[in-house]
Amino acid sequence: MGSLTLTNVTKSFGTTEVITGVDLHVNDGEFCVFVGPSGCGKSTLLRMIAGLEDCTGGEIAIDGKRVNEVAPAKRELAMVFQSYALYPHLTVRDNMGLALKQAGFAKPDITKATDRAAGMLSLEPLLDRRPAELSGGQRQRVAIGRAIVRTPKLFLFDEPLSNLDAALRVATRIEIARLHRELAATMIYVTHDQIEAMTLADRIVVLRAGKVEQVGAPMELYNDPANTFVAGFIGSPQMNFLKAGALGMRSDTMGLRPEHLTISREAGQMAGKVSHVEKLGGETLVYVHVEGQGLLTVRLFGEHSFTVDETVYLTPDAPRAFHFDANGLRLR
């Protein structure tokens, strides 16, 4: 109960086209993550699914039924916002129960649903407080609880964790993953955090300038990117793009993940100078400036000491490289 189909959906604000034709099918129970650079239209697309923005063209269907003309409240979905958007004048309990109250449910049913959701997120001690009396993390949990209460067909999340600190972000991320398993609900999640996308998603949709660049499971995108944009966007630190001609290859661009470059002080294919070293404990990132190629990132496991300005040699792990043509499309 809760599949979503977008057919050639477009959106313009005045003359600027923000979404330029998106086709997408999200299966029932799937966790689908939208990623893309800032301003590419992720939030706009999500708001269109929610019914908060009209479509300029195309069709949105939930469970196979066209919903373009259906009001947000009637689409049976719930949305969690980056800014929490709790009702300041209502207690946590009333915040969570409002949607059911509006839908005309009986009081005992509302209480039951609210208590169930509060139990899932350990919100019981907070039920009688107002949003002003909660911490940021608690507010976001309440906002998630508010979404759960109504057992929607579709959960929509718009960067729900980006206002939280790092530790809380991890905890809440795990909580969302657990909820997805327990509720087996369809979730659509917007983020520009790599880790959130990779760890939560069943499928990732990479957007650029209002268009879908590639759709696939996280590892599919990682191991088999369709173009330089996806290759550069998925994976952190970012993939290195080398000018293949300089290395005697026939493709235009060679993409190489930072862990697939070996570094040596003695000999290698390319000579370069260390320009910066980042030690993260478990791994070390070495940034090497190579003449004609620019700054390349090398990822080493464990601790290594390189000094800035030291000369080093890099060797690409050729079989693991990705090759792209002049338009950035993958050559297979």
Binding site: R47, A50, G51, L52, A71, P72, A73, K74, L77, A78, M79, F81, Q82, S83, Y84, A85, L86, Y87, P88, H89, L98, A99, Q102, A103, R130, P131, A132, E133, L134, G136, R139, N163
Partner: protein, 278 residues
């Protein structure tokens, strides 16, 4: 306030503010003390505090004996409060529509509504009078309320629209997804968040309405609908002015404005917005 202000600057600032307060309050203070003095005492030493010898309630007695004075008071209250209510209600609604919905001629409508700020409504007095005569509204409080609402709306729409734009979209959208009507979103989510702006608009609109002499004189000079400003004029004659009565009437007229102001300024300070959105 995290930053510490140096003591010297703090003292300087307070000196200036206190001086300004004293200067502003001085006329009010003079009116108040003189309203409690006998006629002779007012003229012999206007700045003296009333003493047992000079203390006299004759002014208040005259004003209260003047029969309809309480009625004038009531008229002013009714006219001011109704006008404020309509200014805030319609102003906020128009501002919400202008800031929330995208429609053709949105900017144009906004400009048109703001035009009233620049054109004094008194320029249209003759037309307004003709309109009121045609509508049979001359010598009614309704006439005054209508005019004052029209007079207050442009500034109200202008200020409130700016504040409405700052209300979080997410909050309104959350309401829409939860099935609240646009009216519920407006009244229960947006209005409470812009209460400080509403209070500001209320204070700005309140004073000119309460003090206005022009429109009561033209549109509603009849005894039973006179406002207090117009009512007080009877004590100011062409040849003799009953200063005791005038000063007492003015002193009394301060009270309601003060009360209204206190109500609104409490709203100015109170912030229930904290915690709604980050």
């Amino acid at each position: 306030m995290a930053t510490r202000i140096p003591l010297s600057r703090s003292i300087a600032a307070h000196t200036v503010l206190i001086a300004y307060t004293l200067i502003s309050l001085f006329p009010v203070f003079v009116i108040l003390i003189n309203s409690f003095k006998s006629r002779k005492a007012i003229f012999s030493d206007p700045l003296a505090i009333p003493t047992p010898e000079t203390f006299d309630l004759i002014g208040y007695a005259t004003v209260l004996k003047q029969g309809d004075f309480f009625q004038y008071f009531l008229n002013s209250m009714i006219v001011t409060c109704s006008s404020l209510f309509f200014i805030l209600l319609f102003g906020a609604m128009a501002a919400f529509a202008l800031s929330e919905y995208r429609f053709k001629a949105n900017t144009l409508t906004g400009l048109y509504l703001a035009l009233g700020i620049m054109i004094p409504i008194r320029l249209g007095t003759v037309a307004i009078l003709q309109l009121m005569v045609a509508g049979g509204l001359v010598n009614t409080r309704t006439a005054l309320v209508l005019v004052y609402t029209a007079q207050g709306l442009p500034l109200a729409v202008f200020i409130l629209a700016e504040f409405m734009k700052q209300v979080s979209d997410d909050l309104k959208n959350a309401g829409r997804i939860d099935g609240l009507s646009e009216y519920r979103i407006f009244f229960t989510l947006v209005l409470p968040l812009i209460r400080p702006a509403m209070a500001t608009v209320a204070v700005f609109s309140l004073i000119p309405i309460w003090n206005d002499l022009w429109f009561p004189l033209i549109l509603a000079p009849a005894e039973e609908v006179k406002t207090i400003t117009l009512g007080s004029q009877i004590f100011i004659g062409q040849f003799v002015t009953n200063w005791n009565a005038v000063l007492s009437a003015l002193s009394l007229a301060i009270i309601p404005v003060l009360v209204l102001y206190l109500i609104f300024s409490r709203q100015l300070i109170r912030g229930i917005t904290a915690g709604a959105v980050k």
